[in-house]
């Protein structure tokens, strides 16, 4: 396939895992592009498409009319071949597993699915974003995209099956199977270590002395706060490297969401909020600060009920009953 002769570009159904990629593929001449953009590393996910879509919409409380994830949209024509474009970013990889499962449910054989795997983009600042969360297919030049499409092949059946199985484990209400796959590793899926690092950052941790600590994310968040009022913008942009790495992956809106979870949890809550400017902008709608109850949480030690629940993949971090916590050997255990 060359720029002068990209028949596959026009003939295939293309699955783009973010909006910028969707627009790039259309600009290149692709006519049937299915945008399946969503940051699945946070929030709920389910195996069944309609339920998954319903939960995600509720999770984002989206007031946007734009539908950025059309993977389960009934009007989509899945005409073979289908090309799934994926970067090496962890969010793209999880989304790739999901797309494999979706296409299987739509009746397509693995032989009908071309995986257009993009390597790391070489341009840009190599020191920024070590977890590669901001990687996008659209970071690559047109020539690279067309070249990769020309080289794209279906994955062998076994590898495709493993991707489908990883999605099954990811959305399972019992996260221990997914944790095991991540910790043990799986041939052909080097992304598992990064995905695991991120997913595990949102679950409470059981320390060797038996004490329970907040999740890595929440502990960093508590330490970003003080008794002075701050907007989510201010909380998001300043912090230690560990914070920067995590919020680069979650996105800025999630910081505002999680602050809101904390402000609405408990009586009195550990974090309080007060209206600020721009009611329609979650990053500036409220200011937040720690309360007297929240200050001790900066040490990380917590009773499980002190933190607000957080839907994650097929399960929940900090549910009211029988929560999963992360043990020091990287396994999930119920408390």
């Amino acid at each position: 396939v060359t720029r002068a002769n990209p028949p596959l570009l026009r003939a295939a159904t293309h699955v783009a895992l973010d909006t910028a990629t969707s627009e790039r593929l259309q600009a290149l001449g692709a006519t049937n592009v299915v945008r399946a953009g969503d940051m699945l590393l946070i929030g709920p996910s389910r195996g069944e498409g309609v339920e998954h879509a319903r939960l995600r919409k509720a999770w984002w409380s989206s007031s946007e009319s734009e539908e950025w994830d059309r993977l389960y949209a009934p009007e989509v024509r899945w005409e073979s071949p289908v090309a799934i474009w994926a970067s090496q970013g962890p969010a793209d990889r999880v989304n790739l597993w999901r797309a494999c499962r979706r296409l299987r449910d739509a009746g397509l054989s693995h032989r009908d699915v071309l995986i257009v795997d993009l390597g790391h983009a070489s341009r840009g600042n190599p020191d920024y974003d070590p977890l590669r969360c901001s990687e996008s297919v659209s970071d690559h030049g047109d020539d690279v995209l067309l070249e990769r499409l020309g080289e794209a092949r279906p994955w062998p059946r076994a590898r495709y099956d493993r991707a489908v199985d990883l999605w099954r484990r990811y959305v399972d209400a019992d996260p221990s199977g997914f944790a095991r796959a991540c910790v043990d590793g799986l041939a052909g899926f080097p992304e598992l270590s990064t995905v695991w690092f991120l997913v595990s950052s949102f679950f409470p941790r059981k320390m060797p002395d038996g004490s329970i600590h907040l999740s890595r994310f929440d502990e960093l968040l508590m330490n970003r706060l003080s008794t002075d009022w701050e907007t989510p913008v201010e909380v998001y942009v300043r912090g230690p490297d560990a914070w920067e790495q995590l919020v680069c992956c979650t996105g800025d809106i999630f910081v505002a969401m999680r602050l809101d979870h904390w402000a609405k949890h408990g009586t009195p809550p550990a974090v309080e909020r007060a209206p600020w400017r721009q009611r329609d902008n979650p990053m500036l709608a409220f200011r937040y600060r720690l309360t007297a109850r929240g200050l001790p949480l900066q040490a990380g030690v917590a009773c499980l009920g002190e933190a607000p629940p957080l839907l994650m993949a097929g399960t929940e971090a900090y549910p009211p009953a029988s929560p999963w916590v992360l043990s020091e050997d990287g396994r999930f255990v119920r408390v």
Partner: protein, 180 residues
């Protein structure tokens, strides 16, 4: 936010002729209160506009859904630019105390030149985070959500920090300049 008003006596006729709502960024003038009775006007040049919006000077492939034309006179003031303005106001107040007829113009010119130099340095020192904060101040559509967890401002900041070309041309409209 500092409302840069169109209040100069000397500029007033010009603005009346062109209509105050149709000014371009390089036609805006701050309402300095330096003590010379409204005659101490100060044009904000392109460098200053670029620190907090740069509307109209950058490439754009698709229009934003602004219902009204942006008011280039309404600019968020960065702390850096605020210092420049304060220094200008002090200098201009000093100019107003000079008695001779000939000196104030030269004095004001010098104060103005110093301001422009200071403001230019502000533009050059803006970090991706500064631009992100200013972007959030602008509100919708700069703050519109892209795929759930990330605002457009957040996408622009990522590209800026990665020193990648901006994926969305709206980044320029929302106050981002090319990553250095």
């Amino acid at each position: 936010m500092r409302l840069v008003s169109c209040g100069s006596a000397t500029l007033a006729l010009t603005l009346l002729a062109m209509g105050c709502t149709t000014v371009s960024p390089d036609q805006c003038w701050p309402n300095t209160t330096g003590g010379f009775g409204g005659s101490g006007t100060l044009p904000i040049g392109a460098g200053v506009g670029a620190t907090s919006g740069d509307f109209g000077s950058a490439p754009q492939s698709s229009p934003l859904d602004y219902t009204d034309p942006p008011n280039p006179c309404l600019e968020p003031e960065s702390p850096c630019l605020g210092k420049c303005l304060t220094a200008y106001e002090v200098a201009a107040a000093g100019c107003a105390r000079i008695a001779t007829d000939a000196r104030p113009k030269t004095c004001l010119d010098a104060a103005y030149a110093a301001y422009m130099s200071c403001a230019g340095a502000c533009a050059a020192s803006q970090t991706c985070t500064d631009m992100y904060v200013a972007c959030q101040d602008k509100g919708y559509p700069c703050t519109r959500v892209i795929e759930g967890s990330l605002s457009l401002c957040g996408v622009c900041r990522r590209d800026c920090q990665k020193k990648n070309p901006y994926k969305y041309s709206e980044c320029y409209k929302c106050g981002f300049s090319d990553p250095r």
